[in-house]
Symmetry: C2
């Protein structure tokens, strides 16, 4: 091992006085005691009596392995918080770190502040123990219910991205991010190391990664713990970090090393920030990282059943699994608990003693009480300039064109200008491609690496975060929102599914926080999905996927919203609404290509407010019951529907056609399923029972069937949408491949309106021929099929 | 820059003779010419006439930026393939590398072999150009249609994982993996660098990563191109690699550097392999990596419209975008094309000249013709021992218990034993947790890093791949399957959604290959999802998510299959079927906890073959039309359904209850939608029209509604399933939270069977009370609610 030669290990420094050492160690022992108690005890929390089986929980669930390391880190961060002048937040990356976060929050008094029943005394300690991994209680990982956390410890890989999101625009905050060596094997975490290339030490806070190498994941050693230390240190240096290695299993020695490493790290952060804030920016600052190498399950049983436990994967969960049944194990547990000397830690009433309290900060000042982890407390409204000033002129429907996202970009520029400290745009290198480039009039892309003469819009001060990783975009944005700021993630529609799992976890977090009174609402997570399924002219099949919508609607109605604005002005209105909302996940799907403008801004706003509406200007039912309803949701489906309506007016002028457009997809659901659901009465007024409806939908057709399942009109509903047919081809050909083109919609009407088929057989054939002619044109000439723009309107 | 000091750059070596240099450069120029032609030309492919606008495609689509670098790499790999004794395959990671792969495959003759219309002459060249990014043609990235590739260049991040999957168990293969510096920012790619820790140089092939730093992604510089070179080299060394840097823009100089680097890399690979195969294993072999730093859009236009293009992000797509309209640009394009000296490259007939052919290997020997990229050619059936020998005894239903996945693990052990060269198991550190540990009787976990005394089942020779990254598991498995082998991915159900996007791309790949005659079928991608939504006793809400099923069924019916075996013997039968199948994605969901055994092996096999069936042994309808159908899919729903049927027999003995179990979810769909769909006649025989059906389902309930949408029984169908309610709690409490418990199913029957409600009101109340009693028990005592095991059977 060459670590000592090349790492920044500081074994000679022993910064802790014996008093400091005692307070840090006492706190640590207290946290460890409380952690073991949570896993095992349902009674006798202070060990006033000898342990008997009845004191033990009937099912032993929980995770010990990572806990002592987390407690150690917390103790040292608390010491630093008391001494330093930085705000500190911690993020617990390792899985199943719940016992540690709960123990420390209870020791600090924060837990009892938010959950008074779990008081800071013997009774509360009993409740703390009992609720852990108990039915209806708290999970074994850090959760929304845990004070001091913005990071769920369930699914792994996102801690460091969350930490960076929290640090952006938080100049006085240091986010200490504990990274488990298991978690470090995940893709999102591996990509996150380079996040420092996007951080501005002058204006942003800092992230202090603490890589905790306890050596094991569930059942295996970890990669980073088992490669030569010189490789590990080279790896970290390669990501722009200066490593400080802490390694050992003797507590006093590790405390001294850890205190030295933490002090050194905070000093280095201060030095980088001082330089940057003094306008002498260093080109490539080397940020500190602490590497903490301690045994898994440290201070727990060395062996069980004759097999090694401490320092192996066997300490991952419950090291002694049969304490209730096995008297030897029960004695081993008791001596394990007593090894922390509980009488030294807690007084008669079960309150932490003054030895423990030496490291506990004043009320509300503990690490677990940071307001940054309860972003709603810090949230300030966005200043949103009037979006109507960007409205496009629409003298008559479909007479002008615009690129919807480009116009939205102009609006976002004004939002960016008005909120220089609390709004950011995130995207995987697609902001310009998605035509939101207007924002670069007032800001740049965040970049803290080398630049060359030909670069444009790169600056450490940029507020647009572009990295070719949907995971980082999502993780950074989540961290930014959870600490009380606002943002928008723009992405190609097909590739947003890269973050499906992260979306799940954020949706679950929001659902859980709705039931936690002390967590105040945060800004919604806004997705703008563009470069969508219908317009992948050269990318083809791999880029054609609208499945994120199906994924989103699986989550609780109370936290999800989906919008499909059909044109530019409706996109402006929808975006304004989403940016103002709280505690939702808003998904907006909108095209970036030139497309017809349909609605003047006032009408667009009214239409979006309703979320679903009859387009009288394209309908011929004149307020009577129509012969057919043409419904549509999404920009391309709306275009094809309007074109089909035009064909119907031309060839079947007597047919009463109603055109209905859906912007807010949730309006389709029953109000019993989603708060935005249209009442059945309103729904039936739009879609009269017994009238055939041909619905052209942006995504997979069955989503419309699903959303309208409780409506009474199944037999009348016929949905066209993406049926997983695609290739490199023109926009019109894509609608043809998936049977959603205007001619096919026309044919659907003939097939569905009772009595129409016999007399319109020649028209049906004509449309079928027209489709083939268009297909042939596209594939011969390499250009889109002849469009039909010269529509005449009924009104 | 300290690169030269610390990197393994070899500027002094000039291994190419002037003849070699000429042949490599000529090939490169030819490939570049063909690439530019694909982007621009629809006629006049050989430039026999001066360019006029009519020669230019009406829409200019495609990507030039990455292409010259890829062509260079291909030329040098071809040189090496001709000289060396290794099989070589290349994987094209950079996005939109289509023009390069197509140009080189055409030059090699491979393209014309599989697509005879695109002949290796002027006419074929014309077709090659025209089809590119043309409606109905080929996309701008490497696709299934591209010979020599196992890797779709659409979604980014998976190249290196695919390369390792291809290398496993392929001792003579070197997989040269080109990694784009954009792609390198993604999480999956960042995690993939450490894949070498899982590769055995004695038995596996090798991966040669070629990191192509052209400096830009779509609109931004890339991180790895803009950090100090000493950091870049440290980063690569930290991942276990020895970097060889090639850097420049003078072709002759770059050719010499590149040839030297490639030779050196192959020598180092041979040295590592020789040592390992001579049984003198090196603990941590340092694998070569080539870092290729050349300008983006190299050899293209230096400027356009007065702005720099070559060497900037502006060369990403079409460097000269207005050649059809702008005479100056047309002239610039012509001089760009002529700069490759086409007369030196192609003869009168449009065939490559002998100068080009010097680097073209004999027919069928080119890089693009490798059989490894058409895995179906190499596929050998799995030897599958009889699964029946692992069957559990089931004297009567529900009288014994087993852990289904543990028994499957015994079967997988035998599969592993019988196929030591072509079957692997993949999992994110969960194989033991998922109780498949039986396989460790005959193999180990692949591990080529340090070991300690307490380790178990770690070996370089292990055939179980465990890494805490679902992305790597999926990517490795895909690469392994696509090169003609077999495997199974076991994963926690909730976290499989981490690879939703990768699943999409593999499903799209399979769908596309079904239409490509020269691609032979490969083994199916098998998922075993366990630790499922209903059994997350201490993990809680974050681990409760059955949404992958909804995600899967969005893809084409021809490639997806979903199985929900209700017990151990049915799991064995389903797994056997899946392991034998081809070109599908099979999803199996099965619990790992002890559960009741329901069916003897013969009955289980028959039931799984039908995929859906009436459980007569639990039904009381005696062949008549039932009063109610209790349907179920999944192990926990089946248990609750059987318990509800027992309660009904006890309390409403006259009620005719039919129990139907669904193993193969696709049987629910109409045969017009899925080839496994039950005919309407068979369906109506199981679910008689007009009879209420209470369906207890493993996942989100609406999936059953969706699958049965075209069946006639909507008003009669009532589905219970996961409704996104969860917490840390007992298995029984989970069913209660989601209204799928036996008591609720009983109440549903009372509510749904006509005429039952009035006379059974007291029973409904009794069940409601029982539910609350069970909930209270769970939450008070911390153990599961009292189970009902003492069932009596009607027959």
């Amino acid at each position: 091992m060459h670590g000592t030669a090349t790492g920044q290990r500081q074994p000679a420094l022993h910064p802790l006085t014996s008093t400091d050492l005692r307070s840090v160690d006492t706190y640590w022992r207290a946290a460890n005691y409380l952690s073991v108690g949570q896993i095992y005890l349902q009674a006798n929390p202070l060990l006033r009596d000898g342990l008997i089986p009845e004191h033990i929980k009937p099912r032993l669930l929980g995770h010990w392995g990572t806990t002592p390391g987390l407690n150690l880190i917390y103790a040292h961060l608390s010491r630093r918080l008391a001494e330093g002048d930085s705000d500190i937040m911690w993020v617990v990356g390792p899985g199943h770190g719940g016992p540690a976060a709960l123990a420390c929050a209870w020791l600090d008094g924060t837990y009892s502040d938010v959950y008074p029943a779990v008081s800071r005394d013997a009774a509360g300690m009993g409740r703390l123990f009992r609720q852990f991994s108990f039915p209806g209680g708290v999970p074994s990982h850090v959760a929304p219910e845990t004070p001091g956390s913005i990071h769920e410890g369930g699914e792994l890989g996102y801690s460091l991205a969350h930490a960076y999101g929290a640090a952006f625009d938080n100049p006085n905050l240091v986010v200490a991010c504990v990274i488990g060596d298991g978690e470090a094997e995940t893709g999102p975490l591996a990509a996150s190391w380079h996040s420092n290339r996007f951080l501005n030490p002058a204006r942003d806070g800092a992230v202090l990664p603490i890589l905790h190498l306890n050596g094991y994941k569930i059942a295996n050693p970890t990669v980073l713990a088992r490669i030569p230390e010189e490789q590990l240190l080279a790896y970290l240096r390669g990501t722009g970090h200066r490593p400080h290695v802490v390694s050992g299993s003797d507590p006093a020695e590790v405390h001294q090393q850890m205190a030295a490493a933490v002090d050194r790290a905070f000093d280095e952060i201060a030095e980088i920030q001082d330089q940057a804030r003094g306008h002498t920016r260093r080109a490539h600052p080397e940020w500190p990282v602490v590497v903490l190498r301690t045994p898994k399950g440290w201070t727990g049983p060395a062996t069980a059943d004759g097999l090694p436990v401490e320092g192996t994967w066997r300490s991952h969960q419950v090291p002694l699994a049969r304490v209730r049944e096995d008297a030897d194990q029960l004695r081993a547990l008791e001596s394990w608990l007593r090894s922390y000397r509980p009488a030294d830690l807690f007084d008669e009433a079960g309150r932490p003693t003054s030895h423990v309290d030496a490291l506990v900060p004043a009320e509300g000042r503990g690490l677990s009480a940071t307001v940054h982890a309860n972003g709603g407390l810090l949230l300030r409204d966005l200043v949103i300039p009037d979006f109507r000033r960007h409205a496009v002129e629409v003298p008559t429907p479909a007479s002008t064109t615009a690129e919807a996202t480009r116009v939205l970009g102009d609006h976002l520029r004004e939002v960016m200008r008005a909120n220089p400290d609390r709004f950011r745009l995130f995207g995987p290198d697609e902001t310009a491609s998605n035509r939101l480039g207007g924002v670069f009039d007032v800001t740049d892309k965040a970049w803290n690496a080398a630049t060359v003469d030909t670069d444009e819009h790169l600056s450490p001060d940029g507020r647009v975060l572009e990295v070719l990783s949907e995971h980082l975009c999502q993780g950074w944005l989540e961290g930014y929102l959870l600490t009380g700021r606002h943002g928008l993630f723009n992405c190609y529609e097909a590739f947003i599914q890269i973050v499906d799992a992260m979306f799940n976890q954020h949706a679950k977090w929001l659902k859980a926080t709705n039931a936690i009174p002390w967590r105040l609402p945060i800004a919604s997570l806004n997705y703008l999905l563009t470069s969508h399924v219908w317009r992948q002219d050269h990318n083809g099949f791999t880029h054609q996927d609208p499945g994120f919508l199906d994924h989103v609607v699986n989550k609780k109605a109370e936290v999800i919203r989906v919008y499909l604005p059909p044109d530019t002005n409706t996109l402006l209105s929808v975006a304004d609404h989403c940016l103002r909302s709280r505690n939702y996940i808003n998904v907006i799907v909108a095209g970036k290509q030139p497309q017809l403008n349909l609605m003047p801004i006032e009408a667009a706003e009214a239409h979006c407010t309703r979320g679903i509406g009859l387009w009288e200007w394209a309908s011929t039912d004149q307020g009577s019951t129509p012969d057919v309803v043409l419904a549509c949701a999404g920009d391309v489906p709306s275009l094809e529907t309007l074109a089909a309506a035009d064909l119907l007016r031309r060839y079947l002028p007597d047919l009463r056609v109603r055109v209905v457009n859906v912007v807010n997809l949730m309006r389709l659901q029953s109000p019993t399923e989603h708060p935005h659901g249209l009442s059945d009465r309103e729904f039936d007024a739009l879609f009269p029972p017994g009238t055939p409806t041909i619905f052209a939908f942006h995504g997979y057709p069955w989503l419309v069937h699903r959303l309208t399942y409780r409506r009474g009109f199944h037999p009348d509903l016929h949905v066209r949408g993406y049926i997983e047919e695609g290739t490199t081809t023109t926009p019109f050909d894509m609608t043809m491949l998936n049977n959603m083109d205007r001619f096919h919609l026309f044919m659907d009407v003939i097939d569905r309106v009772p009595g129409l088929a016999p007399r319109a057989a020649h028209l049906r054939q004509r449309m079928a021929d027209e489709r083939l002619r268009c297909r042939a044109h596209t594939r011969t000439h390499g250009e889109d099929a002849p469009d039909i723009r010269e529509w005449t309107w009924p009104h």
